[in-house]
């Protein structure tokens, strides 16, 4: 136990966090997901708008190492899809044609793109030679023949970043207003409290809808993106502000804060040296748990068609295609963005739980 005594509080928090296997797993998953989203132009084999008329509503393709003859290949490949029309139902049916394999190429030149809209490039992580007839749709295609894998990745960039940017705005508003209310008290406190009460009493969804409907359709995708983020965080800060205020009120009476005041420390020193660091871990936890709410808000608005709109691709926008029963039966792979949302939300919640336990400076390491 004695070696524990030598460690700094943040190191101790890390030790506590490390015990949560699920939280670690969730953190790794999120890191991978965010990396994929950050480099989505490079990772995806196509651009999200690129159409493949030979594969409309094509099912996900299997990436193979072993061919029909049972022979193993180091270079993975996919089989061509053969389109047939079912004479009874008049539906398109795809069947693998094991006579024409298309080998995958790695880091090869393919469809040209601009990384982050800035750096022109044309290499992709994996692709099938675009000069030939082959193609690869790992997650299948939609009704316009667009590659779902590429679209999910591009959507991840928007959906995941809206969570972070939105929570960042929320935090800024929440800490600023909650902090003022808690530290100054009196009239400032009352005013902030009344504003949060009013905002919290308004049903969010109708208000979001009203505000989103007011966003001009002529706005560029990027402006709409920030408009939607702003709308989401404008109503998200109230909960955080209340928590920050409560913490401030409680901490004002803590002995070590009183001690600092009695030493003659001024307000800003008391706040920034003593109070904020003491609940920064709490804020990080709250923020982590707030990201999924933000993402779900975006998804809900986009799903209803009043948030982000095509040509912007987000998971919510993608799910718009899956609004009817027919889609779910005939082309269930269009629901994949939904699966990503569920897993991401769960991962954020697990991570938040782990952080919350790790953040308590006095929770012992000996439990469990």
């Amino acid at each position: 136990m004695s070696e524990l005594r030598e460690l700094s509080p943040s190191r101790l928090a890390w030790l506590r966090f490390r015990r949560h296997r699920l939280a670690i797993l969730a953190a790794c998953f999120l890191v991978v997901l965010y990396t994929l989203a950050a480099f989505c132009e490079f990772i995806s084999p196509y651009t999200p708008e690129q159409r493949n008329v030979r594969a409309i509503n094509a099912p996900p393709m299997d990436i193979r190492f072993v061919d029909a003859q049972g022979q193993f290949h180091f270079r993975p490949f996919v089989y061509d899809l053969k389109l047939t029309i079912n004479p009874d139902t008049w539906m398109r049916e795809y069947e693998e044609d094991s006579s024409t394999p298309y080998p995958l190429r790695f880091f090869a030149k393919g469809v040209p793109y601009e990384l982050w809209g800035l750096v022109p490039a044309e290499r992709h992580l994996f692709s099938v030679d675009p000069r030939g007839p082959g193609y690869i749709h790992w997650f299948g295609t939609d009704s316009l023949g667009r590659d779902m894998f590429s679209r999910v990745l591009y959507g991840a960039r928007v959906s995941l970043s809206i969570g972070i940017v939105g929570v960042g705005l929320t935090l800024f508003l929440g800490i600023l207003l909650g902090g003022f209310a808690g530290y100054l008290g009196g009239i400032v406190d009352s005013v902030v409290q009344r504003i949060t009460e009013v905002l919290q009493s308004i049903p969010t969804l109708p208000l979001w809808m009203a505000l989103s409907a007011a966003l001009p359709t002529a706005w560029s995708p990027i402006t709409t993106y920030f408009g939607v983020t702003l709308i989401l965080s404008l109503f998200g800060w109230t909960t955080l502000a209340r928590q920050v205020r409560g913490r401030f009120l409680a901490m004002r009476e803590e002995d070590f804060v009183v001690a600092a005041r009695l030493l003659g420390a001024n307000d800003s020193r008391v706040i920034f040296r003593h109070m904020l660091p003491s609940f920064s871990s709490h804020i990080i936890t709250t923020a982590t748990l707030a990201v999924p709410a933000m993402m779900l808000g975006e998804t809900a608005l986009s799903f209803l068609g009043i948030g982000l709109r095509a040509p912007v691709v987000s998971w919510g926008v993608l799910l718009q295609q899956a609004q009817n029963y027919q889609v779910i039966v005939m082309t269930p792979w269009l629901l994949l963005p939904g699966a990503f949302i569920v897993v991401t939300v769960i991962a954020f919640n697990l991570l938040g739980d782990g952080l919350r336990d790790a953040a308590d400076p006095y929770s012992s390491l000996s439990e469990k």
């Binding site: 136990m1 015990r19 390491l365 000996s366 439990e367 469990k368």
Partner: protein
């Protein structure tokens, strides 16, 4: 043949942690005789509360215990508390029935949303099949015994209307209402003012004499020990340093740690030659002394130490 109500023999409690295990108790042995008050005294980390929690089987799952805790209730077969199964019906009988406990904090031990009378009556109903009226009548009688006046009206009040001392009286009433053979008091007066403490100490002692049960009284204050106990167990670092009657231990301490505790008490001046032998027992000092608890005659045991 042992004829004590409670015998603790070679009790070892070890807490498992991520960074190895910590021994909270290292072979603790002592007896609590019938109809007497035994005080366990020690500073923080001495293992006195771990001992009482082990008797009530209140230790967390991370604790590994070995050794024996044997309760010999009058008119019943002895119970080996340490090897009882958690689901054994004797367990329920034990907690609150044969053995009950009074904790340090009188603020949190009572439910804030129930009336005092109902809470005390509830303690009766948990262990015996009697009617609500009979239970309330018993509760009233018990509250009178612990020195509450105007019991009828107080029973309809809520805990927040009571002062700390009154709450502690109610808790003692709840602990005693099923007539336990052993009452464990874990620092019951530490959170109280000195005048209230004096009243509670007098109360616990007079009730013990009246009900003829046994009390295990855990405290860090040798003044409290002197006032309440018949026998004393001095603990340090998970071990028993010295046991004996209260006069033996406090009037002529044999172990240097006991002496150190006594000389640390404000307002106590110890003869100089004794004083020097108590030095070196500063905070966190290693044991550095013998491992054997030797018999010093007259029912008294002292751990060996190097002079």
């Amino acid at each position: 043949m042992n004829d004590s109500l409670l015998s603790i023999e070679d009790l070892i409690v070890e807490f498992k942690t991520e960074l190895g295990s910590v021994k909270a108790l290292k072979e603790v042995s002592f007896d609590v005789p019938y109809s007497s008050i035994t005080a366990v005294v020690g500073e923080s980390g001495s293992g006195k509360s771990v001992t009482s929690n082990a008797i009530m089987r209140l230790l967390p799952d991370s604790a590994q215990t070995s050794g024996e805790i044997i309760l010999r209730p009058q008119g019943r077969e002895p119970i080996a508390i340490n090897s009882l199964d958690e689901r054994d019906p004797q367990m329920q009988e034990l907690r609150g029935g044969l053995v009950s406990m009074v904790f340090q904090e009188p603020m949190t031990a009572l439910s804030p949303v129930h009336r005092i009378g109902d809470q005390v009556a509830e303690a009766v109903l948990c262990h015996r099949k009697v009617s609500q009226e009979a239970a309330l009548a018993e509760a009233a009688a018990m509250l009178e015994q612990v020195g509450l006046t105007e019991v009828e009206s107080k029973m309809r009040m809520y805990p927040f209307e009571f002062s700390g001392g009154m709450r502690q009286r109610v808790i003692i009433a709840m602990a005693l209402i099923c007539n336990p053979q052993l009452l464990i008091c874990d620092e019951p007066t530490t959170a109280l003012d000195v005048t209230i403490q004096a009243e509670i100490l007098v109360l616990i002692k007079s009730l013990q004499r009246k009900l003829n049960n046994s009390v295990l009284f855990i405290t860090h204050d040798l003044g409290v020990v002197a006032q309440i106990a018949d026998r004393v167990v001095v603990m340090y670092d998970g071990q028993v340093m010295e046991t004996g009657s209260v006069r033996q231990v406090l009037k002529s301490p044999q172990h240097p740690y006991t002496l150190h505790l006594l000389s640390s008490m404000p307002g106590i001046k110890i003869v100089e030659e004794l004083q020097t032998s108590s030095e070196g027992w500063a905070e966190g000092a290693p044991m550095g002394s013998g491992t054997v608890l030797g018999d010093a005659g007259g029912g008294r045991q002292v751990r060996e130490f190097s002079k």
